[in-house]
Every structure is written in structure tokens, then in C-alpha cells.
């Protein structure tokens, strides 16, 4: 079973990379390098260390932003899910935030917070937080009422109902919100480096495009995707450790 899913994963990787290679060789566009060229460029960047320097820069707003979004997002989401009043007060903000065209807001953020780390963290948060908040609150609201009734009848106090019933019951949806939030956070981090000041990986993309080194540009984009996948897998492992009983075959393997 496990072996088969590994084979399927490898197969899908071969198909995607193969298509990339072929598209690069035709070529579909002058600005589209082959897979092998891109991997060579990636190798060069890894060897000379420029990729790690870039990530040291990019990961700062990303990690700070994702952590803030996760902690604050889950707390606010729990609150919104538990209190109708809080729901009425705060839900609209996050719904608007989720729908807002972020690129258009960036100049505003830069005017207020400058071009430094703060603005970039804000961009990551605006991308990542709404989906975490909205997922958490709807999961909390959908806790089966019979679980809560059961807890109450067996003398659970409010905190026990929250920590032993509501949060575990909501955790699968909270985690899927976190996964979406982390993915959105990656988009936010790169977007901020493209739109605010070119630093880190955003700088590699901008610079290599400006000198028509498309292989390096695609190598940088590829590295972001790989990192995002690694992040998401780590998150899934965390879920398995925290909520063992949740893994009932729904989680992707």
C-alpha cells in the first residue's frame, strides 16, 4: 500500500518534470528553460551558497508571519466560533481580508509601515490569517452538539469542554486551515519580496529575470515549491503526533 503510493508519487513527478523538459526543448517560449537547465542553475546556487543566503532573508517574514497567523488565527477563530457576538464583530473583517486584492493594498502598507520587515510580515499575515480564522471558527461551530451535551452531562466544566471536546473535534478542519494558511503565507512572502523590496528569493527571481537568466529564475521558483511541500508535510506530521486518533485515513499520505 505504502509502496504503491510512493510509486504513484514518483510517477507523477516523472510526468510533470518530463513535460517540463519537453516543453523547454521545443521550446514553448524563449523565456522557458528546460528542467535540466533549471536544475543545473539550482545546483550552482546551492553550491555557491547564494540560495541559502536568499532563504535566510525570505524565511524571516515568512516564519514570523505564519507563526503569528497560526497562533492568533486559531485563538481568534476559536473565539468567533464560540461567541455569536464575537462572530458578528470580527468575521466580516476576515472575510473582507480574504477577498481583498492584496497587491493593491501593498502600497498602503508601505506608506504606513515602510519597506522593512514589518510590511512583509503584514503581507504574509493578510494572506495566511483569514483562512485559518475562518476554518477554525466554522469547525468550532460545527462541533456535534451531542458531544458537548455528553461532556456537560458527565460534569465537564467550560474549559474541559473546550480543550477535551471542541478543540479535538475541530482539529482536522483547523489543520486543513493551517495547511491552506501556510501555502498562502508562502505566496505572501514571495509577493512581498516582488512588490515591496527585492530581497531573498524574490531578489533572485527579479534579478535573474532582468538579466534573462531564466534557468535561475525557474530554479528559485522550483525551490519555493519544494520548501512549501516540505513545510506542509511537517505540519501533517505534527497533526499526527498531536491528534493520533484523527488519522482515520483522510490525511494525504
Amino acid at each position: 500500500m505504502n509502496n504503491r503510493s510512493l510509486v504513484l508519487k514518483l510517477l507523477s513527478a516523472v510526468i510533470v518534470f518530463g513535460a517540463w523538459e519537453i516543453a523547454g526543448r521545443i521550446p514553448v517560449s524563449y523565456a522557458f528553460p528546460t528542467f535540466i537547465e533549471s536544475m543545473k542553475a539550482l545546483y550552482t546556487m546551492v553550491v555557491d551558497g547564494s540560495l541559502f543566503q536568499a532563504y535566510a532573508e525570505t524565511l524571516k517574514p515568512l516564519i514570523i508571519g505564519v507563526l503569528i497567523s497560526a497562533v492568533l488565527g486559531i485563538i481568534i477563530g476559536l473565539w468567533i466560533g464560540l461567541s455569536e457576538w464575537f462572530d458578528w464583530l470580527f468575521s466580516p473583517i476576515f472575510i473582507v481580508m480574504q477577498a481583498a486584492p492584496l497587491a493593491a493594498l501593498i502600497p498602503l502598507l508601505v506608506m504606513i509601515y515602510g519597506i522593512g520587515l514589518t510590511s512583509k510580515v503584514f503581507v504574509v499575515c493578510i494572506m495566511a490569517m483569514p483562512v485559518i480564522v475562518l476554518n477554525t471558527s466554522s469547525a468550532v461551530r460545527n462541533t456535534p452538539s451531542s458531544f458537548i451535551e455528553m461532556g456537560t452531562s458527565f460534569l465537564a466544566n467550560r474549559w474541559e469542554v473546550l480543550f477535551k471536546i471542541i478543540i479535538p473535534a475541530a482539529s482536522p478542519v483547523i489543520f486543513s486551515g493551517l495547511r491552506l494558511g501556510v501555502s498562502a503565507g508562502f505566496i505572501g512572502a514571495i509577493l512581498s519580496e516582488l512588490k515591496i523590496t527585492p530581497t531573498g528569493v524574490g531578489d533572485i527571481i527579479t534579478y535573474s529575470r532582468s538579466i534573462a537568466d531564466y534557468a535561475s529564475m525557474y530554479a528559485a521558483i522550483f525551490s519555493i515549491i519544494v520548501l512549501a511541500v516540505v513545510f506542509l508535510n511537517l505540519l501533517e506530521m505534527l497533526e499526527r503526533v498531536l491528534f493520533e486518533g484523527n488519522v482515520r485515513g483522510y490525511a494525504s499520505d
Partner: protein, 266 residues
């Protein structure tokens, strides 16, 4: 041994031989009167069924006794003291089992004790005992989704038994299991009533089930809910569990109840 215990308790508690007594309870949901001025006593150590057509408020009454709902008017006494909320003297068995899907059987069974702050090793010992008693030995580490409906309700029953409450409140506990499992459950329930010195309050919509398991049947009629009749089968408890359904008293009571309920069923 059990008999002498029961006798000794009877002499001590001659005045309050009702484990639960409900007096003048009304419950309104806005304009709707779910229960109106309902008075009913539940004798200690016996099983009382609440039977009636759907919408007659039997589950509402059970949840009010459990302390999960507050009555608009009236008073409930459990062992002589008024109910203000859920308490250690009552345990609930849910129609939909209400098992925590992320928790193993043993954690589910021990959950009531966990909430009461009993130490882990102690509550697992107690839980193991009741898991064995309901016939789920070997499934301690299983999760609810791995069990059949009947087994899940056994977990729910073990959870309610493990907190050792005086009063067991059962809300249509067998309605979500298949017919054969239900028959087995009903037999087991009779044994449980005989062996455990507990008071059972049992909500059901099945006339046959109510007559089969009950010492006392309260017939509730709807809109607003009231106690229409109280029936106490006299000769059924001494009968062998296998022959009750052929007993003439059993058949008569079933017919009688159906005749009185028929006009309320749409």
C-alpha cells in the same frame, strides 16, 4: 446477597423510595409548550420507561432530569435534593452514542471519570472492569469507527456505568442498532436492572420494548405533554427472559397501550 442489600436499603429509605421525583414541571420553547405541569415519580432500583408518540416531550423530560435543560417551572428531586444541573448521581446514555471519535474505547469509557479528576491508572482499572462487563474485552485500544453500532452503544453504556451514578438516564439507547442486537441489549438490560442497584429511566418509542424491559411505564401524550397513564406490569419480572414475549400479560399490555396511543399517531 443483593436481595438483602436491597431489603436493608428499603427499610432505611421507606420515606424516599423514589430515586427521582418530578413535580409540576413545565417547559416552554417560546410559545410552544413542550411539557405542561408534569408530575411523575421514579421508584428506586426499578426501570421506568417514558413512552409516547414522537413530539411528546419524553426526551425533553429526560434532559431536564439530567440537568441538561432547565425547566420553565417545577422541581426535580434526585435522592431528595433538587436538580440544578448535571450531577454525580446521574449518568446519561445517548441515542447517537456520543462517543469521541478520536479517543480509544478505554478513553471513551473512562471519560466520565477523567472529567471527575480520577487518576489515570485508577480510572483505567475501573473502565477495564466495565468494558469486560459489557462484553467488549479485547477492544480497549480500538477506535469507535472500528466498532459496529451495537458495540458502540456498549461503549456508551460502559461509560455511564463506570461513573457509578445512582440513576441511569437512557435516551432511546437501542433505536440506532439493528433488531437482533436490540433484542440482545434488552435481555442484557434486564440482567443489569436486576444486578445493579440503580434506577433506570428509559426513553423509547417502541411499545414492545417498553413492556419488555420496564417495571413501570409512563405513557406521555403530546401537545402539551402530560402523563396519560402509568402501567406497572406485575408478573413479568419473575418470568424467564425468553418467555416474556409469549406471556399473556405482556401481550395484553402491548395491545392496551397501542389502543390508547393509536389516535395520536399521524
Amino acid at each position: 446477597m443483593l436481595q438483602t442489600n436491597a431489603l436493608a436499603e428499603d427499610t432505611v429509605l421507606t420515606q424516599t423510595d423514589n430515586a427521582v421525583s418530578v413535580s409540576g414541571v413545565s417547559k416552554n420553547y417560546g410559545e410552544v409548550e413542550a411539557l405542561k405541569n408534569l408530575t411523575l415519580d421514579f421508584p428506586r432500583g426499578q426501570l421506568t420507561s417514558l413512552l409516547g408518540p414522537s413530539g411528546c416531550g419524553k426526551t425533553t423530560l429526560l434532559k431536564i432530569i439530567a440537568g441538561l435543560l432547565e425547566p420553565t417551572e417545577g422541581k426535580i428531586l434526585v435522592n431528595g435534593s433538587p436538580v440544578t444541573g448535571p450531577g454525580e448521581d446521574r449518568a446519561f446514555v445517548f441515542q447517537d452514542f456520543a462517543l469521541l471519535p478520536w479517543a480509544s474505547v478505554i478513553r471513551n469509557v473512562a471519560f466520565g471519570l477523567e472529567l471527575r479528576g480520577v487518576a489515570k491508572s485508577e480510572r483505567e482499572d475501573i473502565a477495564n472492569k466495565y468494558i469486560k462487563e459489557v462484553g467488549l474485552e479485547g477492544f480497549e485500544k480500538s477506535f469507535p469507527h472500528e466498532l459496529s453500532g451495537g458495540m458502540r452503544q456498549r461503549v456508551g453504556l460502559a461509560r455511564a456505568l463506570s461513573v457509578d451514578a445512582d440513576v441511569l438516564l437512557m435516551d432511546e439507547p437501542f433505536s440506532a442498532v439493528d433488531e437482533q442486537t436490540r433484542r440482545k441489549f434488552q435481555e442484557d438490560l434486564l440482567a443489569l436492572v436486576a444486578n445493579e442497584n440503580k434506577t433506570f429511566i428509559f426513553v423509547t418509542h417502541s411499545i414492545e420494548e417498553a413492556v419488555y424491559v420496564s417495571d413501570q411505564i409512563a405513557i406521555l401524550l403530546p401537545r402539551p405533554s402530560r402523563v396519560a397513564d402509568i402501567i406497572r406490569p406485575t408478573g413479568l419480572r419473575e418470568k424467564d427472559v425468553a418467555s416474556i414475549r409469549r406471556d399473556s400479560e405482556y401481550l395484553d399490555i402491548v395491545d392496551e397501550i397501542w389502543a390508547s396511543l393509536k389516535s395520536y399517531v399521524e
